[in-house]
Structure formats: C-alpha cells, structure tokens
C-alpha cells in the first residue's frame, strides 16, 4: 500500500450494509428463513476472519522471520479490507446475540447452552409446506378481459407498479447520464443493470408462495417503491464527488459498479413486486394471472412513459416528479392496507402522511445540484428533453453544462476564434453562413468580422438558446435567423445555399450525434452549398500526438468528407478542424487573417502557420491506410469514438468481458428451452426497439416526443400481446412458441429493409410513420404473446413460473440493450446486427420446435 493511499472504509461499509439490509428484508419478508440469513452472514464472517487472520500470520512471518512471501505486499491490502468487513459483520453479530451477552453478564454461563441449542433445534424444524408451491395452475378465460381488470381495484396497484417503474427508470437514467459521460455503452450498462436487477428481484420472488400475508407485504413494497427512488437520486448526487474525484469521468467498470449498487434496492423491490403480485392475484381469483400482471405492468409503463416524456418533463424537476410517484405509491400502499385490514397499516399510514407532508418543504433539486456543481453558484437548472441544462457562475464567468458536460464558458475566445476563422478565412467573400450549433457561446462576434449578410443558426435544443439569452452571453444580431430544428431536417428542407457551413457539434460519441458525421449528411449539405463554399466540422484534438485510436477516427471522417469534396484539410488546434471544399484550402490561417486584416486575440497571436502546416501534413500523412467511410446505417465513427474514449482508462476490459460472459454462461446453463426462448424474445424485442428508434433519428432527426411515442407503441403492443396471449392458454405448445419466435425473427429482418426503403428519397410521411408504428406494435404483440405462452407452458407453481419467466425475459432485453445498441450497431451497422439477432432467434426457435416435436411423439 502506498503511503498516502486510503483504505476503502466507506465503500466496504456501504456494500456490506446494503447487502445486509437486503438479506434482512428478504428474510423478514419470508422469502427465506431468518436462520438462512444468519448462516449467510456467519459464513461471510468466517471468510473475513480467515482471510484477515491468515494474511496477518503471513505478515507476522515476514516481519519476524524475514520470510520472502511473493506478492504479500499486494495482498496486504486485502488483509485490511477483510479486516474492515470483519469488523462491520461482527458488529451485526453482536446485535444478534445481544440477549446472550446480556444473560451472560446477568446470569453467568449457564444460559449459553440452552440458548444456542434452542437455536439449532429451531433451525432443524421441518419446513412448512405451502400449497401453492406444488398446486396445478388453473386458467379461467372469462377472468382475463379488459373490463374484468377495470372492475377489480386490486389490479390498480399493478398499474402503479408499471407506472412508477417506467417513470423512475427514465428519471434515474437521465440523472445517471448527467453525472457520467453519456455514450451508448454507459446507457447500455445502466439499462442492463436495471433489467438484470429487476430480473433478479423477480427470480427471488419465486419463493414468495411462502409469504403468508401477501397484501401486507406488497403494501410494504409500495412504500419502498415510493421512498427508494428519492434516496437513490439523492445518493447519486451526494456520493458522486465523494467516490469519484470532482469533475472526473468514471470508467465503464466504475459506472457499472456504482449504478449496480445504487439501483440494487429499487430494482430488486420492483422485480419482487411483479412476482408477488402475480402470485397474490392468481391465488385471489384462482386463475393464472402471470401474463395478465405482465400486461398490466406494461400498460402502466406505457402510461408512465408517455406522461413523463410528453408532459411532466416540461414542468417538473426530477425530485418533483419523484414526489408525485411517492404520493401514488403511498396511495397504493394504503389501499392494500385497507383492503387487507392488516396491522402494518398502523405504521404505513402515519409514515406515508408524514413523508407526504414533509417532502414539499425540502428543496432536494437545489440541494443535489449544489452537491454536483461544487464551488459554483448554480443560477439555473432545467430538465429539457435533450437533457439536464445547468448554468453556473464562478466569478464573472458563466458556464453552461448539458448532462454534466461543459458545453461552453463565457469568454472562451480561443474556441470561438478557431471554430469561425479557420473556415471563414478560406472563402474570398463569405456572405451566407449556415451555423449548426454553438453560436451562443460567442461566435457571432467573430462571424461578423466578415462581410456576412445572413446567418442561419440551427440549434436543435431551443431551451439552450432561451437560457443563453436570459444570461446574456451574447446578443443575437438581427442578421441571424434562429432555427430550432434538428440540423438534418433543416438541411433537407431549406431552399437557401451557403458560402460557409460551420458545424460545432460534440464528437460522434453516440449514434445520435454520429448522424452529423455521415456520408449521407455531407451529401445533403453539399446540395445547399454554393460552388467553392467551405464546410467545417471537428473532432477531438490531436495537436500533440496522433494515437492509433485517434488515427482511425480522423481517417474515417477524412475519407467520408473526401468522398463528397475535392479537398479536405485538417487544422489541429483545441480541436481538429476538418475543412472540406471543392476549392483550394490553405493551412496558413494566420497569414490569411493578417492579409484580410481581421482582428483576432487568439489565432493571430497564439498560433504559428509553420507549426499548423507541419502538424496538419503529419496528421494527413499518418491517417492514410484506413479506407472506411461513415454511413447513416453503419455508424463506425461512434464505435471508433467509443474506442478512443476507452483508451483514456487503460483498463484491461477483456478480463471484465470474459467474467461477464462467464456469469452469463452460468445463468444460461440454468436455462431450459423456454427460458432460452424468452431470453431470445427479450433480446429480439429490444433489438427491434433500438434499431427502429435509431433509424427514426437518422431519417427524421431527433424528436424527443416521438421517441417517447415509439417506445410507447412497443409497450402497448407488449400489453396487448400478453393479454391476448392468455387466450391461447389451451392451445399453448412448444411448436407454437417456436412459431412465435420465428415470426419475431422475421420482424427483426423487416427492420433494416424498411429503414433502407424509407431513407431513400421522399416517402409519404403518413405511410412512413405507419411503417414504424406497425412494426413496433407487432413486435410488442409477439413479445407479449411469447411471454404468455411461456407462462402457459411453464410447469410448477405460479411464483416459480412468474419469477423464472420474467427474469429470463428481462435478462434477454438487458443483453440486447447492451450488445445491440452499444456494440453491434456502431461496429457493424444495422444489417449485420439484425442478421445476428435473426440467426440467434431462429436457432432458439429451432430448438423449441424440435422439443415440440419430441413432446408430440
């Protein structure tokens, strides 16, 4: 251990406490016996004690007898880590045996034997058998219509469960992204954690048949569903600058671990609630209600997602949204208490009322923002569909952050000058300029040093411009025509043509931003550019050194531009500026500025033409050899940008990937053909969702409300499918299950065909949107039906069927989200990705078909 390195006391403490509370709650809930909970912690105590003790002995040998024990120094850290956990677990241990110690002090040693022997006897008592664990499952079709659900108030809490889960997922995901760097892999990791943990919760619930009073148990779960999101969101902000260095990006492993810990309580409770609801309702109405609960939960998610995305997000801050959810969940909890007349209502009702009354007086939104933006005065914060927008002040400087990343600071002369002058100076008389993003950071002052007559300034996030106007970073001149629209949409629709096009967007770190770096976009831009005009776009700087990862990403952009323009020039500065034109381009920007007598504070006095030229030639010489170009449906730049970003962390991720593969392999070993089918269904369902949302953005630009609607259409299909699937109960067979998988695979195959068709030329907008909606709705229906049929086919208790099916479905969706969105599409494009999913789904379908044939025989 280095002299100044500190031991992770807080981290170990939090991990041990979270897991202790989890096993404690589960044991109290009756999912396993208290003695199992204690045994588990006794084993951990023994392990901690042994590791700590053995390493301590080794240390003694080394110090006393100068033994040379290899790697002892490294594992000494473990000695302390285990010592810390030993201390914490021993602390619980003391509490368990408090009575024993008390008696020991009061009455001497006699009581010891009787107490401990009593405990052993209790532990060996035969387990109580519960009827529903083995009972055959019934199905009454008349109790599965929509009207039936509407009449039965017991189903409303299930809707609330789906509603809360969807809303909390969106809110937490957005907040996680504003705390961490938001590329697709990070989104994938957080989503995968979410689904895996929900799956784990559902799986844990497979023993929920043992719970005596399920209604009371669910009332408690609803209280937890109300309170946990608030705690999670607060901890996210509170721990951000404690666990990670302030302002520092976290690597993939850290994001995975941190999000796993924070999401653990809520997701487990949410997954568990699904299974317990399935069991409780099935018992209550003596019918199999797993897929009905699945359907209702999906319907709740649909309502939640739509309400939040289309309405709440515009008016409320995250903690205000959570307050709304808190009230709804408290209501559900109180309802369950009243219906059941349970004793627990004595605690739940006053607690709920107290929380509901106190909460509005806490301004948690402001508190958390202050925690996140340390040493800055947070003057403005707003959640927009594009992400969280925060304005801070330090001294006279105003800073704009979007999703935690610094967009710009006032007075940043260098980046404004580079972005404007490198391109503008190349044109003999630039009059018409198209500026895509970044104008409000102070670029207009630089732009109007030229004889510019018109500037079309396109900013897709209208809130950004409004906020910038409020904080008067720069007055927008009259000549500027402000357009709040997706740049691709604008370029498609404008009749104007331009002398210079300046693109000031972030690097293509996501497939969403990649759309502005593709061959198709540059081709569209060329249509609105006058002969001899200049295009400028940018990538992270390689002014000092061109690494292997940077080479590839620079080469791809160079090739893509070069396919559309005769000349491409890279000028390295604070960012690498790519200039493209059919006219000649020169790297001697300082000389040109001086010749044109354009005043400048940065370019003319900080840069040297010879150095720019030398560096530019070096970069362009060294990127030769990579001949790939970036396309709309093969967004290789976003994959390479991810690779470049990863290279900062120098972590050997192959070990991590292999461990993840091993865990997944072990989970899959426990899968039967049905679980495999559900896994493939989840995977294919999430693939369809992702590829269509991605394709929609490529064709129609980023329209936040539309993304919400697209996902909602899928959820509606899911709800309808699982409800309708119930009707198939008497007809359910492995062969039909295989057939549904086959249909799902075909739906995946249709996606790239449809996208390629819609992306070619102008299609009827109604027809085009219908294609998206129909495919998504059908995919939802098939995925939902698949779940219902699997529930029918699954043998065993309601609890076990519900837990196992739901977890297999969620694990598939989780793996789909991470593999398809973050790896397959960026690295291989939509065709390969869809073929991969189709192949996988068909293989699983075939397995189920063969099993179906066997069963028939």
């Amino acid at each position: 251990m280095e002299e100044n390195k500190s031991y992770p006391v807080i981290l170990i403490g939090i991990v041990v406490l979270v897991f202790y509370l989890a096993t404690y709650i589960l044991s109290r809930a009756g999912l396993f016996r208290k003695v199992v909970h204690r045994k588990f912690w006794n084993i951990l105590l023994l392990v901690s004690f042994s590791v700590c003790g053995v390493l301590g002995i080794f240390l003694t040998f080394q110090v006393n007898y100068k033994w040379k024990i290899p790697y002892l120094e490294e594992i000494t850290e473990l000695h302390v880590d285990f010592g810390i956990s030993l201390f914490i677990i021993a602390f619980f241990h003391i509490f368990w045996h408090l009575n024993y110690f008390r008696k020991l002090i009061r009455a001497g040693f006699d009581s010891h034997e009787s107490e401990s022997s009593g405990e052993i006897v209790a532990a060996r008592k035969p387990e109580k058998k519960y009827a529903d664990l083995t009972s055959p499952r019934n199905f009454k079709p008349e109790s599965h219509g929509v009207l039936f659900f509407l009449r039965k108030k017991f189903f409303y809490p299930v809707l609330i469960l789906g509603f809360s889960t969807a809303c909390v997922q969106i809110i937490l995901l957005r907040e996680f992204l504003s705390v961490f760097y938001g590329n697709e892999m990070i989104v994938g990791i957080i989503l995968a954690n979410w689904m895996l943990l929900c799956g784990l919760g559902a799986w844990l619930g497979r023993s929920s048949g043992r719970i005596k009073n399920k209604s009371s148990f669910l009332a408690v779960l609803h209280v937890l569903l109300a309170v946990l999101p608030v705690i999670t969101l607060f901890l996210l902000a509170f721990l951000r600058n404690i666990i990670f260095p302030p302002g520092c990006m976290a690597d993939l492993f850290q994001v995975w671990f941190f999000s796993f810990l924070l999401l653990f309580p809520f997701c487990i409770v949410s997954g568990l609630a699904f299974t317990v609801f399935s069991v409780m309702l099935s018992e209550k109405y003596s019918s199999d209600f797993i897929s009905a609960v699945y359907s209702l939960e999906a319907a709740g998610s649909l309502i939640g997602g739509l309400l939040l995305n289309l309405c709440l997000i515009y008016f409320l801050k995250p903690f205000q949204d959570l307050y709304l959810l808190l009230l709804i969940n408290f209501l559900a909890s109180v309802f369950l208490c009243f219906k059941n007349q349970s004793k627990i209502s004595r605690y739940i009702i006053p607690f709920s009322v107290l929380c509901a009354l106190v909460y509005p007086f806490t301004d948690l939104d402001s508190v958390t923002k202050k925690l996140l933006y340390r040493d800055q005065e947070v003057t403005f914060s707003k959640d927009t569909p594009f992400g969280n927008l925060v304005v801070t002040r330090n001294g006279e400087q105003t800073n704009f952050f979007e999703n935690g990343l610094l967009l710009f600071s006032s007075g940043n002369i260098s980046s404004n000058e580079e972005a404007v002058h490198f391109a503008m100076v190349q044109h003999p008389a630039p009059e018409d300029v198209l500026l895509i993003s970044g104008g409000i950071s102070g670029m207009f002052a630089e732009l109007f040093k030229y004889p510019v007559k018109r500037v079309d300034y396109v900013e897709s996030n209208p809130w950004l411009v409004e906020t910038a106007k409020k904080f008067v970073i720069q007055k927008i001149p009259e000549e500027v025509n402000l357009v709040s629209l997706d740049a691709r949409m604008f370029v498609k629709s404008t009749d104007h043509s331009y002398d210079v096009v300046l693109i000031n967007l972030p690097e293509p770190s996501t497939t969403g931003i990649n759309r502005y770096y593709t061959n198709e976009f540059f081709l569209a831009l060329k249509r609105v550019m006058k002969p001899g005009s200049i295009l400028s776009t940018q990538l992270p700087s390689t002014v000092n050194y061109l690494s292997e990862e940077a080479k590839k990403i620079n080469a791809v952009l160079y090739n893509t531009l070069n396919k559309n323009f005769l000349n491409v020039l890279i000028i390295p500065g604070e960012t690498n500026h790519f200039l493209a034109s059919d006219s000649a381009l020169s790297p001697r920007v300082v000389e040109k500025l001086e010749l044109k007598n354009i005043p400048s504070e940065y370019v003319r006095y900080y840069l040297i033409d010879e150095q720019i030229q030398e560096r530019s030639e070096y970069i362009m010489e060294n990127i030769k050899g990579y001949n790939i170009i970036n396309k709309d449906f093969e967004p290789i730049s976003s994959f390479l940008q991810f690779d470049y970003w990863m290279s900062q962390f120098r972590t050997n991720y192959w070990i991590l990937i292999m461990v993840a593969a091993l865990i997944l392999g072990m989970i899959m070993l426990r899968f039967d053909s049905l679980s495999f089918g559900l896994f493939a269904g989840g995977f294919a369902g999430s693939s369809i969702e992702i590829v269509l949302v991605f394709g929609y953005q490529v064709i129609y630009g980023f329209v936040y409300q539309m993304l919400g609607i697209l996902i909602a259409v899928f959820m509606a299909g899911l709800a309808a499918g699982s409800l309708w699937g119930n009707r198939l109960f008497p007809l359910a067979s492995n062969r039909r299950f295989a057939f549904l998988l086959f249909v799902l695979a075909m739906a995946v195959l249709i996606c790239p065909v449809a996208l390629e068709f819609l992306n070619r030329g102008e299609q009827n907008i109604f027809l085009a949107h219908s294609v998206f909606f129909v495919i998504l709705f059908l995919a939802g229906i098939i995925t939902g039906t698949l779940f219902s049929v699997a529930c029918c086919l699954r043998k065993g208790s309601i609890a076990s069927a519900s837990g196992v099916n739901y977890s297999a479905d969620l694990v598939g969706a989780a793996i789909g989200a991470i593999v398809f969105a973050a790896l397959l599409i960026p690295a291989k494009g939509i065709w390969f990705s869809c073929f991969f999913t189709v192949f996988f789904t068909l293989v699983v379908a075939l397995i189920n078909f063969v099993i179906g044939l066997k069963n028939k025989k």
Partner: protein
C-alpha cells in the same frame, strides 16, 4: 454429451479462444508488459542509471515514487523496466513529439525571447494527472507510441539545421527519459547550445544534481500547494517538488514556475496565498510565476474552465506577496503576459499570446530606471 455438458464445453472453449485471440488478454494474464521481442528497436533500450539492487529486486531511485517493478514489468513512469536483475529504460532516442517553438509556448518568458527552441518529448510520465492534455502519450510506454528515431547527436544537428539556439525537453515529462536527456544536454553544452526542460519536477535530489550543471533553464509545473490534492489529482507528492525547486535555485539554473489553476481542485485563495508567500520568502521572488488557464481535458471533462477573474486575482495576490514577475498564460486577450519593471513599473516586453510585439530591454535591464531584470536575455 448432454445439453449442460455441451454448454460447459462451449463456454470454456470460447474463453480459451478469446484468451488466445486478444493480445490484451494475454498481456493481462501471462505475458510481461514489456519484452525485447515486441518490436522495440534495441537502439532505444539502455541500462538505466539511478537504481539499486535490493533483496526484493531492483528499486528505481530516479523519482520519489521509488518503484520496484517485477521482472519484465514497467515502473509507474512506463519507461523503466526490470530484466534479469537490472533496470533498463526504453525511452532513449525515440521521441514521439518533435517541434520548433518559441520559448513562450513553454511558459519561458525570461529566457532569450525571440529565439527558437528545438523541442522533443518522449512517451511516459511519473505522474498520473487527471487533466493531462497529452494523456495518450504520458500514460503509455514508448514501446506503444509512434516515435521518431533521433539520437542525441541528431538532435544537435537538427536543432542547428532549423536555426534553434536551444534544445528543450518538453511536451511530456523529460525526467523519465533521464539517460537520453542527460546525454543530449551534455552534447548540447559541447556544441554551444542552450538547454531547457519543462517538467513537473518530480525527481530525486541525486539525479537532479547530476542533471543541473548541464541545464540553463527549467520550467517547473507546480500542480497544487496541498499534499492531499497532489495525491488525488496527480498521484504524486508535493514536498519532493518543493525540495527540487531549492536545488535548482542553489545550482543557479534559471527557473520559471507554472501553475495550472483548476477550478474546485487547486483554486483556493488561502492555499494560493500560502504558496506565493512560500515562494517570495524562499528566495524565488525573482522567478517568473505563470498562472495558466485550465481547459477541460482527459478525465476532467465535467469541470468548467478557469475564469479570467480568478487568474487575474491570483496574479494580483502574487504581486502583493512580493513576487516580481507574475503572468497569466493561455488566456487570449489578457494584458498580463507583458513584462513590467518591478521597480518603475515600465512595460519592457509587450506580448500578445505567445508573440512578442515590442522588447525595450537594454542589456537585460530596464531602460528607464536601469533596474536589472532577472532572466537570461539576448539584448
């Protein structure tokens, strides 16, 4: 074979294939991080100086980290590694960056203004700064970067060819390629060239004393004046750097000090006042002090740039604490890059950015009050 067995075999087989396919995985498990067979020209490998053999293996004595790398493993700096009980360096004659710059680009304002530096930088660094703007060079060994082959004698030749009067080791940390640095400095002195390093100053006293006689100037970057921040932000220690500054002063190497002001990390007024007092009372009052603006980079992307107000305030504070020459760098539009006479306050060198607009120094003194201006001047 049943399904379960098939799956087990498939998973284990895939893992074996994966391990075999990916070189990173191989590296992580079995292969040494460095070997002579990985494509490094033996020309760039030299036995290192400043290490000792201990019962535990070799121990590096170049910087305060005192790494004890395991066989075939690199030290923290990525350039020095152990093989057969000896320590070698892989950073000899293979800079990844070669450039010709004005001294101002490397925060040298009192060192032959208007002349040119022939600058080289070798991969590797003994600190791990969260904000490093050359992270793709500093955090890897020269084995993994694309380098040029320039031995010390070639540096001299190229510098002369390009009309440079000074050889500088900058862009990355020069200390970690100590042997290359020392040989080049010695050769430069023999060829009437001036020598400069721009460093974080994280070096032990003995190698520093060996290096200093061949050095004309050094720009030392102080990361903060707080041990805890030094450790969290840079994985280093403050005291050895401060001790090093005293050695430079004692051995009469011209010293300029730079300080990158990073919001929320090292921009606390109290600490800055303490630092300025320490400098002015410790004999460094005539060493130029440069406050530099931070721009988000590497892992510190979620942090704002340093405000002009903060930088100008620190400059004012440093002057009040007795520092004679205080500058604000990397802030376009500021007038705080000009050199003023500390006695009569006359502007002596007018700069804009890194370019000199006027220079009215006369024989290194103020033409008005004849006060001698500290530094190394050509007029």
């Amino acid at each position: 074979m049943n399904k379960r067995e098939f799956m087990k075999r498939a998973v284990s087989g895939s893992l074996v294939l994966a391990l075999d396919k990916f070189p990173m995985a191989k590296e992580g498990f079995s292969q040494p991080a460095f070997s002579f067979n990985t494509g490094v020209d033996p020309l760039h490998i030299r036995e290192a100086s400043h290490y000792s053999e201990t019962a535990k293996g070799v121990k590096c004595k170049l910087c305060p980290s005192e790494c004890t790398p395991k066989p075939y493993q690199e030290g923290n700096c990525h350039t020095r590694f152990e093989k057969d009980g000896k320590m070698f360096t892989s950073g000899y004659g293979n800079p990844a960056i070669v450039s010709v710059d004005p001294p101002e680009k490397h925060h040298l304002f009192h060192f032959f203004p208007g002349e040119k530096l022939f600058t080289v930088g070798v991969a590797g660094c003994n600190l791990v700064c969260l904000n490093c703007n050359t992270w793709n060079l500093s955090q890897v060994s020269p084995e993994k970067t694309e380098n040029q082959k320039i031995l010390p004698e070639e540096i001299i030749l190229k510098a002369k060819e390009q009309g440079c009067s000074t050889i500088a080791f900058s862009h990355t940390e020069p200390v970690v390629c100590f042997e290359y640095l020392l040989d080049t400095l010695k050769m430069a002195k023999g060829n009437n060239l001036k020598t400069v390093i721009s460093s974080c100053g994280y070096i032990q006293e003995k190698p520093l004393r060996e290096l200093a006689p061949f050095l004309d100037a050094a720009v030392i970057d102080i990361k903060s004046f707080d041990q805890a921040i030094y450790e969290k932000l840079n994985a280093g220690k403050l005291q050895p750097v401060l001790d090093g500054l005293k050695v430079f002063l004692e051995l009469k190497v011209w010293l300029e000090i730079s300080f990158l002001v990073i919001p929320t990390w090292n921009d606390y007024e109290g600490k800055m006042a303490e630092f300025c007092t320490w400098l002015s009372q410790g004999g460094f009052k005539d060493c130029p002090l440069h406050f530099t603006r931070f721009l988000p980079d590497h892992k510190l992307k979620n942090i704002q740039t340093t405000s002009a107000g903060t930088l100008e305030e620190f400059r004012k504070m440093a002057l009040e604490k007795g520092m004679s020459y205080v500058y604000v760098d990397n802030l376009p539009g500021t007038g705080s890059v000009n050199t003023f006479c500390p006695k009569c306050n006359k502007m002596l060198i007018e700069r804009k950015g890194i370019k000199i607009l006027t220079n009215s120094l006369s024989a290194g003194a103020c033409p008005g009050c004849k006060n001698k201006i500290s530094g190394m001047w050509n007029n």
